[in-house]
Subunit: 347 residues, 2 copies
């Protein structure tokens, strides 16, 4: 979906850009809902236009929220709309749940081209359909020109827990094998390259993807999966540190085993960055009972998002609460959590 092939419906055409009134709760708000959001996301609950959606669910749920402020809004491999759907779908799935419903909260800046919003909304609709989730409720606010940044998107998701699933950082255990589902750092370097106008711009694509179907297949194998985490902001290093702290275990990884795309590696080297700290938006780190590693790898590799799945390390009962990496030269270094961030506003 590109800006060129989205067609603005009547009567939104009367407003080529977003005006304050589109967030005012009056006729302009209603037009945006009736002619853009309901057609794109259309379903019974949303169309009822009540203050809240009523949903039938059984058993426990997984509940997660994420706000997306990525700059630029369009980048190789995706856009802010797709990212906002996939990001929350993935967070919901990381607890061992089947993502079902999403809410969408938009903050639009006065002056945003209507056509651009149309493309983003369609991109969200497409991503939601692909992930198998339904957008059931939403909200739109408009802020004055200069007080926002085009579009910010909050998505909040609900999933139904798979029976018996108990997947959380605290369950990492000595002897667990650590698996990543593919190359590290693609999303962050795609954003960085386009933002800085680097020569890599065209060749590095964001890995933005919904992982719920792949995770479902992994769990269907019956493998004893202890932890799932999507290494977004802060990258693999932050995720591993959070897990090591939460479970009070040691994490030992083989630096050489971490899959990194060749162009991403080159871009990182040029910019002095470490792919372990760069954000991903379509990858998962799994801590798995060692005997089940092959089951998990096979399930991941049967999906396009997981073809490069590989083992990168293990959980130890030494250096508890810390992450260590064995370098290609055979020495071991501590992998800290970064203080701030290498790349602001990558999601």
């Amino acid at each position: 979906m590109t800006i060129e092939n989205w067609t603005c419906p009547i009567p939104l055409r009367d407003h080529p850009t977003i005006v304050m009134g589109h967030g005012g709760g009056g006729q302009l708000s209603a037009e945006l809902i009736d002619h853009m959001f309901v057609p794109a996301f259309g379903n019974g609950e949303l169309a009822e236009l009540a203050d809240a959606a009523v949903l039938d669910l059984e058993g426990s749920i997984s509940f997660s929220t994420d706000t997306f402020t990525v700059h630029p809004r369009f980048f190789p491999g995706g856009d802010i709309g797709e990212l906002a759907i996939n990001g929350t779908v993935n967070d919901v799935a990381m607890r061992g749940a089947v993502p079902r419903y999403l809410s969408v909260g938009l903050i639009l800046e006065e002056g945003l081209p209507m056509a651009e919003l149309g493309v983003i909304v369609n991109s969200m609709a497409k991503a939601a359909a692909h992930a198998g989730v339904t957008i059931v409720t939403g909200d739109t606010k408009v802020v004055d020109r200069g007080h926002g940044d085009g579009v910010y998107i909050n998505t909040t998701g609900i999933g139904t827990m798979r029976p018996g699933a108990d997947i959380r950082p605290q369950r990492a255990s000595t002897g667990d094998v650590i698996i990543v589902s593919g190359t590290m750092g693609d999303h962050g370097m795609a954003i960085m390259s386009v933002r800085e106008g680097l020569e890599f711009e065209a060749s590095i694509r964001s890995d933005s993807a919904a992982l719920n179907h792949m995770i479902g297949d992994v769990l269907d194998t019956g493998a004893d999966v202890h932890v799932l985490r999507d290494p977004t902001r802060g990258g693999l290093a932050a995720s591993l540190n959070e897990i090591a702290t939460a479970a009070d275990v040691g994490v030992l990884i083989e630096e050489r085993a971490i899959p990194v795309d060749r162009t991403v590696a080159a871009a990182c080297e040029m910019l002095g960055m470490d792919p372990m700290y760069v954000a991903n938006e379509g990858k998962v780190v799994a801590f798995v009972h060692a005997g089940d590693a092959d089951l998990v790898l096979a399930a991941m590799r049967s999906h396009p998002e997981g073809v490069n799945a590989t083992i990168i390390g293990e959980v130890t009962n030494t250096h508890r609460g810390m992450v260590a990496a064995r370098t290609p030269l055979g020495s071991t270094r501590v992998v800290d959590m970064q203080v701030g961030e290498q790349l602001p506003r990558i999601c």
Copy 2:
């Protein structure tokens, strides 16, 4: 709670203002979570710091999202934090549900004073405790100075449906009595007065309040409540028009019966505004089976938020899809939905 009596904890004190790294997923993000959010909102699920919260629920749920961009962030009668909790609690309750859980998504602007964030977060915690809801998951993004507006807050709420509740705009029926729980226009005029530096500034207070306890008592009477709506953006006029359209019924109100605070009325007159179009943040419009009106009024009036509850009109089988008002002079006028808004960014 005021800025003066909130004390910034160590180690947040090292950063008197928000920096980009507080949204980066590294150590600075962790400090904000560990030393501000968990102490304020503290509970088991949030403290687990997983990608999603796992919640045990029974039966159907009510699910609603709202983003708050109100300017200014502090105003007589409340602040953006309290508003963000109450607004979503109310939306969830409007379907006849008991609000239970909230997510919070923050967009912070680089340079926001840490002390101000502390006050807002504490205000949220206090409002959540008062409403009886738990903040179970959250997300924080930081945008560059000049690309946000201090704080934007998304809250998304989950409530458990009361057994048998079927409350939605489509259920408005001929003969229903229309009740409002109190004076109209307080919130919008409080914001407007402080924003414009009007002389009313000190005396008009926002009505921001959580209505779930009052609504619970209304429904506990067993009254046949068809529709509940909180008249926020677009005011009473927008809510009534939406309901008339959704249910394809006529709405007839007595203009003189609409309760309006004397100072609010004076401010509206001075600014050429109609209180019917001005936002409320602690009021509900109820469409009720005529025989149950007294039950509903009594239940509302037993709460401080509902002492001024009164009947303002009825549902007719004429002028379907439209709202008409009988003026004090005895004539009847059409109450349109406004096109844009009178007051931008009031919530």
